[in-house]
Subunit: 344 residues, 2 copies
Amino acid sequence: MKTAVFEAPGKMVVKEFDKPKVQNATDAVLRIVRACVCGSDLWWYRGINKRPAGDPVGHEAIGIVESVGDSVTAIKPGDFVIAPFTHGCGHCAACKAGFDGDCLNKSDSEVVGYQGEYLRFKNANWALVKIPGQPSDYTDDQLNDLLTLADVMATGYHAAATAEVKEGDTVVVLGDGAVGLCGVIAAKLRGADRIIAMSRHEDRQKLAREFGATDIVAERGDKAVAKVLELTGGADAVLECVGTEQSVDTAVKVGRPGAVVGRVGVPQKAEMNTNNLFWKNIGLRGGIAAVTTYDRKVLLNAVLAGKIHPGKVFTKRFQLNDIQAAYEAMDKREAIKSLIVISD
Amino acid sequence: MKTAVFEAPGKMVVKEFDKPKVQNATDAVLRIVRACVCGSDLWWYRGINKRPAGDPVGHEAIGIVESVGDSVTAIKPGDFVIAPFTHGCGHCAACKAGFDGDCLNKSDSEVVGYQGEYLRFKNANWALVKIPGQPSDYTDDQLNDLLTLADVMATGYHAAATAEVKEGDTVVVLGDGAVGLCGVIAAKLRGADRIIAMSRHEDRQKLAREFGATDIVAERGDKAVAKVLELTGGADAVLECVGTEQSVDTAVKVGRPGAVVGRVGVPQKAEMNTNNLFWKNIGLRGGIAAVTTYDRKVLLNAVLAGKIHPGKVFTKRFQLNDIQAAYEAMDKREAIKSLIVISD
């Protein structure tokens, strides 16, 4: 079977591997239907983060269950499932509190190889999310919507959930990548009245508006802060979907006293001045999304009911053999997010 | 009239001043009934923070309205009121969002001189909290309970509110000063099932238990973390009522993934590593309490109904003339909090 692997910075290839088998009682083997490239994949693609050559990659997919280990009882062969990048056990303190992205029983080695024909998914019993019916029951657009529930839509939702967005809120979304755009969807889904998307790219501004943004701010840094404060007097909630020092700084400054910043952009700088938080009662929350929790509670139903259309973030489509082009399109910002169609 | 003033580090005196008058339409002049010394007063008393010699001091009191400015319509002369250290206007974005401690219309110069016979209270219309009846309608203990609603009980409540303590939670409270002890009361009031108070002083441990603490941890630093994790597997909410670097660090470490730290201890170090927050989805909230909001919504009723007895934090009582002794008792940790009885 074919799987995408990282060869060197800027170079992706597809290689033949043995088809994976169930090894542990908690495994499931999936035949992948669709996968995609994440903004975070660009870190090692660009050589910013180290990654061993020959490593299978990808962490977002939907697929069909081929076989399951003895202790996997919640799903069975033939089921159509979302394969989240998280692998929550469902019974530790983190999972029970609704933070399965921080499952106390998972290891990082579990999250590899989703961009391939087959995947051994570890800790499968609780983490996999069953989709009703089969892929053939869905339109192409719906399959794309479902695929986003493996990571990007759930991550955007995590930004909104941890920023505690509620009915009637004024919300600022920092970041116009696929996660930020899904953050706009999430803010709208949670009832925000006004959603200000920070974006300077026309195609992304357009999609942000389609997803529910009421205002676009193209400025950055202190100019962006001034503009948002002029528009709103201070946001109730801020979704930080970038992770740079400047973005976090802007996020803290655009909130009114008592606002909460929900951040899902992996922080590029650890140290920050938290007095700026204290003296304005600004909350800082966020981290790794609770994919299975959000899919089951909110997102799968919202997609199935046609209430949200996060699959629109896939602006380019590739076959597995074109994996290099899929990464290049993201790297050069020619695609908001690259879709990889693997099987029917 | 007599007012306590700061003379030099370690030296308090009582001085004669002209009785204050209404100067602005938003002023009220109060005759102070009881006041008290705050842990934060010790910073300048000890010379850690600079303060000009001759400065009137104190920021917590209950009293009787003597006169009001033209635009003060919500209270009238003769009313018995709580004089919060906050001076919310009631109509800015911060006040409307329930964060009147960060009122966008207040200035710091408003918060001085509560430890005296009379006080000119600025921005009085919304901020003052009317207490039913007159001081003579209350027992001595009840007057003490009411006095805590000017700051310390509201600040403890803010720790619990921003830590998002809810029914059934396991809560850790860091700090066994008057604020921390009021944090225990607040956690209990919000329905926490298990409350772990970190304290190494027998008298404070006893009061913490009386207020609702179910467990006491006397360890500090990493030993405290290990003990709490052994007891709970990670707290749902953490009240940080100290402000030292070690305390904030411990607060972040004792939470389960997704826990929220509510901090009211004024931070002694601005820079902190917030990656520790991100990778465990730990929230960091808190700041200056919303005194008027909490008093009106929750705390005044809780005191009037006898549900909470925060006045027990006053373990020593003084007359205004004994102001030096009142500060010394706090400084030497002979009193948890010093009460100053000024008039009937």
